[in-house]
């Protein structure tokens, strides 16, 4: 961070990208003209110039403002007793000293049965979704990369869910899995529904036995195909000779997939595990919101949804932010573990 502060101040009075055209104006305000001239000369000689990195500042500022500042405040609000968004709108300052409540929120959360249930649901969700999705997606990617019959059509099918927003995915699942919906319709048609020997139909997202499964399935439905297409793109860089050599050595298709192809993309596989882990951990709130609202009871209340629910539906900001901290620690621990598991790759 050794960038010259003096340059920072006068360059920002210029208009961002127009730094050099405004240089004459900026030079007038610069504290030490000789340094300026030197800089100008160096810039002309190398095409770089010390002020060049300052063009990153506007992007850095906006990005850090919306990431770092909110995360810091998660840790602040956990120690305060705000009663909801409106309560916050009513108070004058960002942090109100009268509402400091020490560790009360932590005591409340850590002994709350709902929180423990949410912790369990999240552990199940992450523990099932991530280990299922990534190996299946990798195998699908390998399959596509081998150009099987109809791979073009298949690629379009697998790619399409990547275009769909969470709200549309939620709407589709809501209609598909409603008691009179498309899934029960299929089951009826094949004799596994009402009146058949075995009745598998149920109110999928209102049944405590299946609700959490629905949330997990919604992620897998979209994620396997999409991640599979990504793996296929990565694997297309693997030279065919590698597979051929393995085949000559008598390696089966299965061995070539896990022995040759996986070795090549292992680092990428580790990155995808990390991203999928974080995504599953933090982003389940919207799909839970649309499909189940956390219910029935607390059957699908995940930590991510609990953060939202406590703040916006039950007006307990402090509680919500303690859950946010737990989520954060969960995320860091998971990342460290995943990194360790794929260590050779880095």
């Amino acid at each position: 961070m050794a960038a010259p502060d003096t340059a920072a101040t006068d360059d920002r009075t210029g208009t961002g990208p127009g730094v050099s055209t405004d240089r004459t104006a900026a030079t007038a305000a610069a504290p030490s003209p000789p340094v300026r001239t030197q800089q100008l000369r160096r810039m002309n000689a190398t095409g770089g110039g010390r002020s060049l990195p300052l063009l990153t500042v506007p992007a850095l500022v906006l990005y850090l403002f919306w990431t770092v500042v909110p995360i810091v405040f998660v840790f602040v609000f956990a120690f305060f007793d705000y009663r909801g968004i409106l309560d916050f709108v009513a108070s004058d300052s960002l942090v109100d000293a009268d509402r400091f409540s020490g560790l009360d929120n932590f005591r409340l959360v850590l002994t709350d049965a709902v929180f423990l249930q949410a912790l369990r649901n999240t552990a199940i969700q992450v523990g099932v979704a991530v280990p299922l999705m990534l190996p299946l997606a990798f195998m699908l990617g390998y399959y596509l990369d081998r150009r099987p019959p109809g791979w073009r059509v298949l690629s379009v099918f697998f790619f399409t869910p990547g275009l769909i927003s969470i709200s549309i995915k939620g709407t589709i699942f809501y209609a598909m899995l409603s008691p009179n919906g498309g899934l029960n319709g299929v089951l009826d048609a094949v004799g596994l529904g009402n009146g058949g020997a075995v009745d598998l139909t149920t109110a999928w997202y209102a049944d405590p036995r299946t609700a959490l499964g629905v949330i997990i399935f919604a992620d897998l439905w979209q994620g396997i195909g999409w991640t599979g297409v990504l793996f296929a793109a990565r694997l297309s860089a693997v030279p065919v000779e590698l597979y051929e050599a393995a085949a000559v050595d008598g390696a089966s298709e299965w061995r070539r997939m896990w022995g040759v192809a996986f070795g090549v993309v292992k680092g990428y596989f580790g990155t995808m595990v990390m991203l999928q882990f974080l995504w599953t951990l933090f982003n389940s709130a919207p799909i839970v919101y649309i499909l189940t609202g956390g219910g029935p009871g607390t059957a699908t209340t995940t930590l991510s949804f609990l953060v939202y629910q406590k703040a916006f539906q039950q007006q307990q900001i402090g509680y919500s932010q303690v859950v946010g901290i737990v989520l954060f620690l969960f995320g860091v621990a998971g990342l460290v573990a995943i990194r360790r598991a794929f260590r050779q790759a880095y």
Binding site: M1, G47, F73, L163, V229, L281
Partner: protein, 277 residues
């Protein structure tokens, strides 16, 4: 090199097509439902509609007030893409041409952005929105969404701009060109494929954004985006599934049109977005 004909590969074919069916059946169900009433949807979900109810589309347009919502989504998406480019292009230009310590740190900061999940700090983000007087206004998204898009945009564009030979820029500078000229006349035209990739990728992300739109901008008909308008219609009692399906398909039309027009480029863009690692 062909797949061997073994039982194992036969299983692979079956599983791949089975999964494809699992992906396609709900979409088919959606299209069929959009032309039916509730009764037909419930009793014969996969039958072709006996008399297609095209009214569902008109109904969805008016009851969910999709017109204004689509307008808001277009506005938010276009403005957010503009802000993203305005910030990311100069930043990438600087990172591609400079290797000072500050640039290294800046690059590392953007690269770390991939590991900060967007929902990590939802509630404080709401508070910032309130403080900035952007709460329950669509403009919040224009101020906020580009920040979430910057890490990937900057990294992708920097990678593109690094392939431009530095000598070209140096020659231009010798002729008296400033950064502005070098950037607009040389770097932007030469990295157009990268810029288009970023536009496609981020426009799709902005168009599809749901949860911040719901929580911070809210459901007021004048401010809400199309992604929010749809599930709201769903939560209302007496859901008319046919109308809901029609509305969902309407919101997919812009995405699908872009997809058809730019199919190969879009596939490349979305893959590039995730292959960043």
């Amino acid at each position: 090199m062909k797949f061997a004909r073994t039982p194992g590969t036969a299983v692979a074919h079956v599983l791949a097509w089975l999964y494809a069916a699992v992906l396609v059946v709900p979409l088919l169900y959606l299209v069929l439902s959009s032309l039916k009433g509730n009764l037909a949807i419930f009793t014969s979900p996969y039958a072709l509609p006996s008399a297609p109810q095209w009214d569902n589309y008109a109904e969805a347009w008016t009851t969910a007030r999709l017109g204004p919502a689509l307008g808001t989504s277009v506005y938010v998406t276009a403005a957010s893409v503009a802000v993203t480019l305005l910030l990311a292009i100069p930043a990438a230009y600087a990172l591609a041409r400079s290797d000072s310590r500050f640039s290294t740190v800046a690059y590392a900061t953007f690269a770390a952005g991939f590991l900060i999940p967007p929902f990590a700090a939802l509630i404080p983000t709401v508070f910032l929105g309130i403080e900035l007087h952007l709460y329950q206004r669509a403009e919040f998204l224009i101020a906020f969404l580009p920040a979430t898009a910057l890490p990937l945009s900057v990294i992708l564009l920097t990678a593109f701009m690094r392939t431009i030979p530095k000598e070209m820029a140096e020659a231009a500078v010798m002729d008296g060109a400033g950064h502005w000229t070098v950037l607009t006349r040389l770097y932007v035209p030469l990295s157009m494929p990268g810029i288009i990739t970023v536009v496609i990728l981020q426009a799709l992300g902005f168009w599809n954004e749901f949860f911040y739109s719901l929580v911070i901008v809210g459901t007021a008909p004048t401010e809400r985006t199309v992604q929010v308008a749809l599930p709201i219609a769903l939560i209302s009692e007496n859901t008319d599934y046919g109308v809901l399906a029609a509305g969902t398909l309407i919101s997919l039309v812009p995405v699908y049109l872009v997809y058809v027009m730019l199919q190969r480029r879009m596939q490349e863009a979305l893959t590039a977005g995730a292959v960043k690692g």
